[in-house]
Amino acid sequence: MSARIGCRDLRVSARGQEMLHVEQLDVTAGATLAVLGPNGAGKSTLLRALAQIGGHLRTGQVLLDGQPAGHREMRAAVAAVLQRPILRRGTVAANAASGLRLRGVGRAEAARRSAPWLAKLGVGHLAGRDARTLSGGEAQRVALARALAVTPRVLLLDEPFAGLDATTRTDLLADLRAVLDNLDTATVLVTHDRHEAHALAEETALLVDGRIRQHGATSQVLDHPVDTECARLVGYTNLLPPALTGQPDLLVARPERCHPLPNGTIPPPDSITVRGTVRRVVPLGGGTRVDLDPEPAGNTLACLIPADSELKTRPGHPATITIATADLRPVAARSEDRIAIRVPLPDPLA
């Protein structure tokens, strides 16, 4: 079965510079692909290139049901939701119907077809409200209802949860997941938040500097990064070079899996320990972040410990952290990381 949407050798350039090059990407009907990347990685550019909207120069192919698709085919197949819910003047109901209206559907028919989507996204009771009076979360729900009302074959979501508070975001994620589970739509979600990828997508691609660095099942990609940049994207932000661990590979670990050891405590079996000096201790409400400068050298390591932890430490104090070997992942080092984690040579004059 061919993918609902895909691309081959898709390149986007602006001012003579290549901003994006994706050799191959496929999303089947009913599936969701998350494209995870840092700011400026080219996530929105990829989405717009797939939809064939926006002014950048594109080469390569966008495929719809396995066939090369042009503007017209993509316009008919795609609905996009952008980071900011761009609603029009008028009521919520008129906004929900506006996608259909833009496709030439009559006013009454558009209203009839869009009303159920407002209800499915929990904003049916706001139908008569002026769209300009909505909260950010309500407006994004209306924007999603507007896109889903056109029954798109491909749904493109450009960080639709950015800028929402945590509770609103969680509720909206749950509602959207429930809606997408019952649709035959191929969905591409671009985000910089791995939790959104985890909640919505069966597959995840990591986009760095306009290239897909890793692509696979979401659980695999989020838990087994291939290199340091991918590791940083999926939350493995602590880099542990061989000089620190005695292991042959560069290892990475999540801060919440790094545990400072109280003085005199014996490290648990099947773990590695790293000694260093506490750089800072930052209370974060639900927990405390302890940053450690490892010895002899290396990038600062961050540990997240529960707020009720009895561990007492202060900047400048020596400390030891332990990480279970099951929580460590080997990764390939990027060139810049090799510089960052370089162990300084001994001073010949010392």
Binding site: V81, L82, I86, R103, A147
Partner: protein
């Protein structure tokens, strides 16, 4: 003060009596200024859209020129249009000088920069991703542009009204390119100037009252349009 009061009373009487010349002048004024405004909108809105929504070399120069045009002296416009349309001028062969067409051209030149400057500002108020979002919902580029214009319709209407207000009240260009020929190119402003110079204050005030009424009607239309928008709750 008596002169003013007497003038007002006489003006009202003149208007109510249905003086044919007065109404002919009013009709010509509306025809010339409304046509000029329509031309200014037809030229100005696409230019404003280009300035506001696209990047091209000289974009800022066009915008700066339009902003300068907000204060374009009608006399200067009248002078250049007169030179262009003068019998020995580049466009003299068309024989347009001292015709309503010449007045429409001059007033369109005055109105276009006003429309460009105000419409560009209006279109830039709309979210920069509006067109992308509309296309992302299935709109063609033309339909997305129409949606954008619909979204900014009130400030665009205000831009058109501002242009109309400017051209209907200008006197310099109308006088220079129209010549204030009775029954042919005489409009309210030039007629008011002539009546004042002759000491016919009642007639001048009557023309002034009509101009004021037109200005009021324009603003009434704008206000009513604004109040047709849904009330925020």
């Amino acid at each position: 003060m008596d002169v003013l009061l007497d003038g007002l009373v006489a003006a009202v009487r003149l208007l109510l009596s249905g003086d044919a010349d007065t109404w002919a002048i009013t009709a010509l004024t509306l025809r010339v200024s409304l046509t000029a405004t329509c031309i200014a909108v037809i030229i100005g809105v696409p230019l404003a859209a280009a300035v506001a929504l696209t990047r091209f070399p000289g974009r800022r120069v066009v915008l700066a020129a339009a902003n300068t045009g907000l204060g374009l002296p009608p006399v200067v416009v009248g002078l250049f249009i007169t030179v262009l349309l003068w019998r020995s001028g580049p466009l003299g062969a068309f024989g347009l000088l001292y015709t309503p067409t010449a007045m429409i051209i001059a007033q369109a030149v005055i109105g276009t920069p006003i429309v460009v400057a105000l419409a560009a500002a209006a279109l830039r108020q709309v979210d920069p991703d509006f067109l992308v979002q509309m296309q992302g919902l299935g709109a063609t580029r033309a339909r997305a542009l129409m949606a954008l214009i619909g979204e900014a319709r009130l400030p665009l209407l205000a831009a058109a009204m501002a242009a109309f207000g400017a051209v209907v009240s200008e006197v310099g260009a109308a006088q220079m390119v129209g010549g204030n020929l009775a029954g042919d190119t005489r409009v309210l402003t030039t007629a008011a100037v002539l009546a004042t110079s002759r000491g016919e204050f009642a007639l001048a005030i009557a023309f002034g009252l009509i101009l004021l009424f037109i200005a009021f009607a324009v603003n009434l239309v704008l206000t009513l349009a604004q109040h047709r928008e849904p009330v925020r709750r």
